[in-house]
């Protein structure tokens, strides 16, 4: 197949609230190629989750609304599809894993029943066959004693085990793309590593692509092929994971990386907070917090993307020819 598996182009999603319209996703574009892992990175509230949910129109409406843009999956524009056609994609070709496994399972049903449900939503199979597959899925995601545990209720599972079940549900119908929205955030660190490894292994086995949302750059370094850095509903920088980590070209990405613990200096933070979502600043969204901002940053909307080499795109005026890169933005030497 030519072209990427998933291509999000100039996506706009907004929420109509009583305080005003929140443009949670404001012109976001990125691609996910087959078999590739793309990480959406950014602070909480930067629109990562909404961007993911917009792909299969899971954003609750009202109040959410997709107001523009295209989401091409395997050539089909998902934003144009009716509810029924869209449901074929949800769970069938695009699997979702959500952040909080404590909530993602219905307390009324056994985990086996929920897996059977997920399978039978897309495959017209008898219950017994679906149950057999459910057992295999549970076994594969590392639930021991499957024959015993398949009839247990969610509250009898620990958080990490629940997330494994949720992953099994997302994989029930062999999706081509797995959207994992902070799947490890609610888990403790040792379990996080296990779940990440599991996701990596499963991805290799199934050859599926993965769109992975996280604010944890440590996780990004571990699993990503490419990185999309988001801030306040806009994409700041995209590129290969090595390019972005070696040569962070947007001040926001640099600031994020400097917040990582264990880089040999005291912990840094990014001064200030995310802008008011109902009235974001004009110009570059990051300029009020940017240490390198120049007067031009404050007008004319988010700067266009500039390629700084090998498909590494940055939305920052400092990479314009008219500006000299500040010294601090030169290649990192520590």
């Amino acid at each position: 197949m030519a072209g990427p598996l998933l291509s999000v182009d100039d996506l706009h999603t907004q929420f109509d609230t009583e305080e005003g319209t929140v443009k949670a996703v404001d012109g976001v574009s990125f691609d996910v190629r087959e078999g590739e892992t793309v990480c959406l990175v950014g602070e909480s509230g930067s629109g990562k989750t909404v961007a993911c949910e917009s792909i299969t129109k899971l954003v609750p409406r009202p109040p959410g609304r997709i107001t523009g843009g295209e989401v091409r999956f395997d050539g089909e524009d998902l934003t144009e599809l009716s509810g029924k056609a869209l449901r074929e994609y949800r769970g069938g070709r695009i699997g979702h894993v959500f952040q909080n496994p404590q909530e993602a399972l219905d307390p009324v049903y056994t985990v086996g029943d929920q897996l059977v449900e997920a399978i039978r939503l897309h495959r017209d199979v008898p219950k017994a066959a679906a149950r057999e597959r459910a057992a295999e899925l549970l076994d594969r995601v590392g639930i021991g004693d499957v024959s015993e545990r398949i009839d247990d209720y969610p509250h009898q599972f620990s958080g990490g085990m629940k997330q494994r079940v949720v992953i099994a549900m997302a994989l029930a119908c062999d999706p081509d793309l797995l959207i994992a929205d902070e799947p490890t955030t609610a888990l403790d660190v040792t379990i996080q590593a296990q779940v990440l490894r599991l996701l990596n292994d499963l991805q290799d086995e199934h050859g599926m692509a993965m769109l992975f949302v996280t604010h944890d750059l440590g996780v990004v370094a571990e699993i990503a092929d490419r990185v999309v850095v988001m801030y306040a509903g806009k994409v700041m920088e995209t590129g290969d994971v090595y390019q972005v980590f070696e040569d962070p070209s947007h001040p926001y990405t640099r600031a994020l990386l400097e917040c990582l613990p264990g880089r040999g200096r005291a912990l840094d933070t990014i001064g200030g907070t995310l802008p008011d979502p109902t009235s974001p600043p004009d110009g570059c969204r990051f300029h009020p917090r940017c240490p390198h901002a120049v007067p031009e940053c404050e007008t004319d909307g988010q700067p266009g993307f500039r390629d700084v080499g090998g498909g590494h795109d940055v939305s920052c005026l400092l990479h314009d020819d008219r500006h000299d890169l500040p010294r601090a933005m030169e290649a990192d030497d520590d």
């Binding site: 909530e103 449900e117 017209d124």
Partner: protein
Amino acid sequence: MPSTELESARFTSVDWATESGGWRSVRLRTAGLAAALLVVAALFAYDYVVAPRELFEFLDWDVTRIDWLFLVSTVLFVRYAVVPLAANRDRAAAYTAEFVRRPAGVFSLAYIVVFGVLGVVGPEVFGLARVDFAAKVQPPVFASVNTDNIRNYDCVGRMVGEYCHGTWQYPLGTTRVGEDMVKIIVYGVRIGLQLALSAAMIMVVVATAVGTAAGYLGGWVDDLLMGYVDVQQTVPAIVVYIILAQMYLGKGLFALALVFGLLDWGGIARLVRSEAVQRRSDGFVRAARSAGASDLHVVRKHVIPNSTATIVTALTRQIPLLVLAQVALAYLKLNNVAYRSLGEVLLRGLSANPVAWHVKWWITAFVTLFLVLTVVAFNVFGDVVRDVLDPQEEVA
């Protein structure tokens, strides 16, 4: 043991075409429900066309409107309450254990089971209370009554001076025309059960449909439906019943069940709505939607089952009110039942004929006691159900 090797698990290679059944297997329960409803419909047609007087010649049973409503309600009750519990024995056993752990639970559960059983078979087992002047105004067992002012009085038990003592033949005494209070109360249970189940089924269906639609869909649907509920709640069902019963429907149990069932669900619908609003943003609803479930599927399989505790609790508040309303209306002679309503019994028990009401105190006392017990038991049951059934509790 989890298979940790990277060998491709079998599920990646399952050939779905051969596993596919080709059609969604119709669930046994759905088939059973349809069959049961068809049988009721067939019986109704037969009764309507062939034997309007009684259902079968050998069964001296003239099936009335309320009986049909009750039959349909019973079928639905069995399908949506009894069958799920029976099919899921682990859960049923767990619920029962939880109930039995609480003294209030034991009392209310026992009372409601007895209420249900008596309501279904009681009048047939105990018989109907018959007028028997030879046994009028008999006091309950262990009590006595001054028979001085009662003319033509026969004491069934022992006479000591002017006092007649009660016997085990009439453990709760008799009315002024010699009807056995036990049989009257058993028949009162039958009325209560018929009314409660029939009206409750109508309410549950309407309230759940309206409540989940409003809560789940939100937006203008929510505004419209809840606006209607507001308007409806300003019209008391009891007034509508009095008017409709006088003019069109007749003052029977059917009219009462129908009017209350169709007009008294606003409160339940509101509770279901707020429940649905919460469930809509729950992780498992989002997960189900992201797995490709339709809205109808999500509502039926996730929103409603997770609102069961709310619905059942709300119903247990509504049922005793219905029973009380029926008794009150019968007392005011605004509702007649086929045989004897507790309201009528109360009315006659309070009359001064042949002796003042406090001399034959047991008539009013036992009716009141029965009503109080029923109201308390249902309310306590509702509280315990909320604690036991709430699936959200288990998450915490």
